[in-house]
């Protein structure tokens, strides 16, 4: 168990280093930041001074070595845009994303387990058909379209909800709903499928022969055995949300890490791009290890 965690952590660190290397060189392919940060008519001397100040005059391999040296000292560089620690900028935005992702994934998973289980308990029933229809629509509706229509109807048209930003609970409704659509739709399908096969398995016959009440059979015996694939898919979806729901955050002006990442890329704020990647990658690796541990909790046959 401890050796397993150690091995996973070691592999994760290797992957993060690889990822950061890739990002370092890719961002520098996007162009020279001085073109964005200095006035159009600035002189060649001013550009050179800007480059020297930010270490951009060095050869790229030298910049990389310096970046690595700074990393070891937990110095993640300065934001060009905000003139403060890039890591601080990233860490300020990340909790906003995390909150939104946690609420969306928890609600959609819980709801999907309930709806999927009830649908599987009576396959072919009216409830099952409606659940299938809604989940299919949820899984296939483009989120940007739903978001924009939502703003048009509920914010602009009816004036019930704010168009964007944060602050009150009302600000949460539309972003959460839009983020929940896809996970909910996919998870209902997964839960329904695995529950159907679990309910047809021999140990359910035993439970019925024991005279267990129906809800205990469905939510005790069948559901517990159906959770592994659900955790896999939900974990995957959570990963994509933690990564920053770029589109949804941008549309609703949610100050999360996805929005920060896009803005920094456009502005060539290299240090911030690198810091956001480091933060989200670390979070995703931790999430994946947590999912593996959850497997072992759910299924006693899995041991590390």
């Amino acid at each position: 168990m401890i050796t397993y965690l150690g091995r996973r952590a070691f592999h994760s660190i290797l992957s993060v280093i690889g990822l950061l290397t890739l990002v370092f060189f890719l961002t520098r392919l996007t162009g020279d930041p001085s073109a964005l940060y200095l006035p159009l008519d600035s002189t060649a001397e001013a550009r050179a001074a800007f480059a020297r100040l930010n270490g951009l005059d060095q050869p790229i391999y030298w910049q990389f070595l310096e970046y690595l040296r700074d990393l070891l000292q937990l110095d993640f560089g300065e934001s060009l845009r905000q003139n403060r620690s890039a890591m601080q900028v990233a860490l300020e935005a990340f909790p906003e994303t995390l909150k939104l992702a946690a609420v969306a994934i928890t609600l959609s998973t819980a709801l999907a387990i309930l709806v999927g289980s009830l649908a599987a308990a009576r396959p072919g029933s009216m409830f099952d058909r409606i659940a299938s229809l809604i989940s299919l629509a949820g899984a296939s509706a483009p989120d940007f379209w739903v978001a924009i229509v939502g703003i048009l109807v509920f914010a602009v048209g009816l004036g019930l909800l704010p168009t964007s930003g944060t602050g009150t609970w009302a600000h949460w409704i539309m972003p959460t709903f839009v983020l929940m659509l896809r996970p909910f739709g996919l998870l209902v399908q997964v839960v329904r499928g695995t529950m159907l096969s679990a309910l047809a398995s021999p140990y359910i016959k035993t439970a019925r022969a024991k005279g267990l009440p129906r809800q205990k059979i469905i939510f005790g015996h069948a559901l517990r055995n159906s959770l592994l694939p659900v955790v896999t898919v939900a974990g995957d979806l959570a990963t994509s949300l933690v990564n920053g729901a770029v589109v949804v955050e941008s549309i609703f002006g949610w100050p999360g890490i996805g929005k920060l990442m896009i803005d920094s890329i456009i502005q060539r704020d290299f240090a911030v791009v690198q810091s956001t990647i480091l933060v989200t990658a670390t979070a995703i690796f931790i999430l994946n290890i947590a999912i593996d541990l959850l497997y072992a909790v759910l299924d006693p046959r899995i041991r590390y």
Partner: protein, 548 residues
Amino acid sequence: MSNATNPILKVEGLTVDFLSDDEPVRAVDDVSFHVSRGETLVILGESGSGKSVSTSTVMDLIDCPPGDIVAGSCLFDGVELSSLGAEARRNINGRRIAMIFQDPLAYLNPVYTVGRQIEEVYESHGAGSGKDARAKTIELLRRVGIPEPENRVDFYPHQFSGGQRQRVMIAMAIALKPDILIADEPTTALDVSVQAQILDLLRDLQRETGMALIMITHDLEVASSMADRIIVMNGGKVVETGIAKEVFSNPQHAYTRRLISALPHGNAAEAPNKRSTTIADKTLLKVEHLTKHYVLASGAFSSKRTFKAVDDISFEIRRGETLGIVGESGSGKSSVARMLLGLNEPSSGKAVFAGENIFEMNEKRLMAFRRKVQMVFQDPYGSMNPRMRVYSIISEPWVIHRDILPKNRWKARVAELLDLVGLLPEHADRYPHQFSGGQRQRIAIARALASEPELVVCDEAVSALDVSIQAQMIDLLAELRTRFSLSYIFITHDLPIVRHFADRIMVMKDGKIIEEGQTSALFGAPRHEYTQSLLQAVPKPKWLTQAQ
């Protein structure tokens, strides 16, 4: 003992249909039976005879749809079961009528401890909870013979052996001292020696509690060792019913007579000898010091532990000879087969086939070798690709070994092979699921013959089949042997089945050969204690043991 005047369960005229795509299929047709307290009723039948459906209907385990109870009544202790509401019906299951099943690993929930699953019985019938239920559970596990029940109560099903799992199932079923215990093929998935223990346990429990036992089986020996009364089912109908001793000694119906005559375990004098007639002097395969170790645990902090699946075994087989390898699960018999086919690598040892060690062959030589050695697997359902037609399944070897047959002759050859194994040429266009278990095993044999092998390894090839089908398959294998001068390695856990078929028998236990000899010598005078116990583990008829 039997109390026919006042049966606890009386089923009359039960008729059940299953709705399939086009029209309902009648699974159970006008079936009547009854059982009294303290009595054992055996329902004997082969797969598809409707024996499980009848009792599942009593337990309300048939889903409607697709099931449809067309007619009949189930009178339990004077109450018509179908008239009860869902809650009253649920209350009978587990409390007054309990059931155990064939494969305890599949029928126990893998994610709950066995203790939890037994406690649930008490809780759901309001017969105890918490510490009380736990104490009762531990006591129950002790009663059914689980060692150290205080610890084992918190173990999960996969941490028990097959026999122990069935004991756990039995504990769960008898928790509330039911009036009736229905046992659906309770020992079919178990080794013979374990089977005997489980049957003993069931008999003891019945004596203690006075419950009625309904036992469903396809195994005539198990049936005869347990039954007071017996009903024989075939094609959804009851074809014979009566006192067990009378049914066995004087079967009335043609089907029952056929079943009893198909018994492989009868006297040697009665059965025709199917052993090889021509055994060449030439050695076909010579195995020397074959060993397979599995590393269980190794690491910086734990010492290396190994499990010897196959432990230094040597044997040889001559052209045209049939070697039976007999052993219980875990004896290493299948590991031997897998290594000989190159499916697993041995840890050490040699196997010389036609002058060449198969473990040192290069890819090309190995291809040629694999053509000469074919395997027939145990599970005719799992070992065939469900999306391939029979034609493609049988002709696949010719796709791989291009030199066997030109493509324009494939169709004719497939028809020939199907005819050889007793199927029809038009079967080539069908899919595996459209066949019965026995027919599928015939297809598997046809596929094995397609590459014109010299040695066929049969790994429990008839174990999953009904008794009467088993006999047919052995006949077929024997006939093919004479026709193509094939050699067989016939691996089985069922010693008597190879009696009239194998020339030589090797008994394996814990990876070692513990006895080897000519078949008649081994059956006549088994030297090793284990071989003797295997022969004796075959259940004896109840009326004989009671008379003693």
